[in-house]
Subunit: 308 residues, 2 copies
């Protein structure tokens, strides 16, 4: 059997990639044979970090063999995980999301905390091992993920644990959080050379409740109108993905990281769920969500509670 494989969710964001690399380091320090892999392309924000550190991305995989030992980071829902996850042996999970559609036949390690970032949980785990020292590389990986997931502490998902971890990690990394953080977030908002199809797949997550299947994709930008220039092509790409994946509902959140608002493009046969949830009427398939930046806290659970 191969080494234990460590990976974040499909369409990996910065937290998924950084968490897998940090979890590999912790596992290795503890004598586990484990290696980080990824389930999709590296986004520009994450590439900025890899370039900064001069390291390669973890290798790409698309499925796992029956019985393969795995460690999941930054996700637990099977619909967001590797193909054939149902038949893998899940040894451990470190995550900061709700738990759903997840099950094992045997006991396992599972650490979830309702923090803004998986790397904050890994940071606390690192500190709990008195014999481990956090090196500069891992400090930068964790700090970057926290900045990314909390939008430089502005997201409502940010907790005091995330803030404290980031401050301590910035000291180890000898980095100015604001300067580095703005550079990092800016790198992630360069959407200029994405096709509409690529754009809606940069950071997309599927959710299932009973027979209702929906998708929430999200992109960060410094200017919503820039993204909306391609509105018609983006809507066409979303419509095609709805047919191809039998979705009841598909939402693209275009999040303004300067003003902390989102423009939502909402399509599918069941957009009424969205309209009821936010008590608004879609106009031209769109709605402006004032103060909404967090899929995890301000969108997904509200929709899930409105689906029977």
């Amino acid at each position: 059997m191969d080494d234990i494989l460590i990976f974040g969710h499909k369409n990996p964001d910065t937290d998924s990639i950084c968490s897998s690399l940090v979890a590999e380091k912790i596992a290795s320090n503890n004598g586990w044979k484990a290696k980080a892999v990824r389930l999709g392309n590296i986004n520009k924000e994450t590439q900025f970090i890899l370039n900064y550190l001069g390291i390669d991305a973890p290798p790409l995989i698309s499925k796992v063999e029956d019985g393969q030992s795995v460690i999941l980071v930054d996700h637990n829902e099977f619909s967001q995980s590797v193909d054939n996850i149902e038949n893998a042996k899940i040894e451990a999970v470190t995550d900061h999301h709700r738990i759903a559609n997840f099950q094992t036949s045997e006991p396992l390690y599972y650490t979830a905390k309702p923090y803004g970032c998986t790397c904050t949980i890994l940071y606390e785990e690192f500190k709990s091992y008195s014999y481990m020292k956090i090196e500069k590389k891992e400090a930068i990986l964790m700090l970057s993920a926290i900045i990314s997931d909390t939008l430089l502490f502005k997201s409502p998902t940010c907790t005091k644990h995330d803030k404290t971890a980031a401050e301590e990690l910035a000291k180890i990394a000898n980095i100015d959080i604001n300067t580095y953080g703005l550079d990092l977030l800016k790198a992630g908002t360069d959407l200029s050379d994405f096709s509409p199809y690529e754009l809606i797949n940069i950071d997309s997550k599927d959710f299932v409740k009973n027979t209702f299947k929906f998708r929430i994709a999200q992109v960060n930008t410094a200017c919503i109108n820039d993204v909306l220039k391609n509105k018609d092509d983006i809507k066409l790409a979303i419509s095609r993905s709805i047919s191809a994946n039998n979705l009841n509902l598909s939402i693209l959140l275009i999040t303004d990281i300067i003003n902390s608002d989102s423009q939502a493009i909402v399509l599918g046969n069941d957009t009424s769920v969205f309209e009821q949830t936010y008590n608004i009427k879609l106009i031209d398939d769109m709605a402006f969500l004032k103060g909404v930046v967090s899929r995890k806290k301000q969108v997904a659970p509200l929709l899930l509670n409105n689906i029977d």
Copy 2:
């Protein structure tokens, strides 16, 4: 809203009761308003501990209100939890079982480790807070649960973490593990005044996979034949519970804690699943399982893997 309620599984065993009391202490030390409750009668083994400490059992509850905040210990499967758990707000879980039929709409604290006992996980949590000191009362609660769940370290579920925790807790409690442990286990094997109906409900857990529903009950004894004197009445009680609960399969494990074997009484329409799993033929609805003492490690996952 009431305080946060902390409880173990239905038909609480020693670990469920001790974990809820210890988790109440940790929560209170951390400034949470939380109180331990229980979902069923106290068994004789647990009563021995409560008497030893001179403390009362946590209050009994049977259901929770919509939106009630809860902390689950020693279980996660909704079928083993309080009535209306689906509509409670689960704030945290500390557990050492597989995860299944569990879900939330929001992120939460979840700590699972594949240890022999939930109290070993709580012990490690206690130690992780540098500002908390383990008092004698909590040391005895945790030590007792570890002795109970690992059958004095003889169960295959016992890990080095359980052993280490028990040794350190015995020092704090100033207790000889073997003397106290045998007294404790012996208290739990006094089945003399249980009716057959009560016997099969002392420590019973339901499992569901797809549409297949089965139950595994377990009693500890120093002499299997003593229990089998009432075999026919026990079988009748099991048959009635199968009809009343629409079970495909119901198993009573009568576990010999001296020799570490179990006699299984197996009834239901789908006993073939059991026979296939252990590659044996039931005789008079019974099978002797040499070396089997752990429902969690040696029975439940094997059956679950054999159900389509």
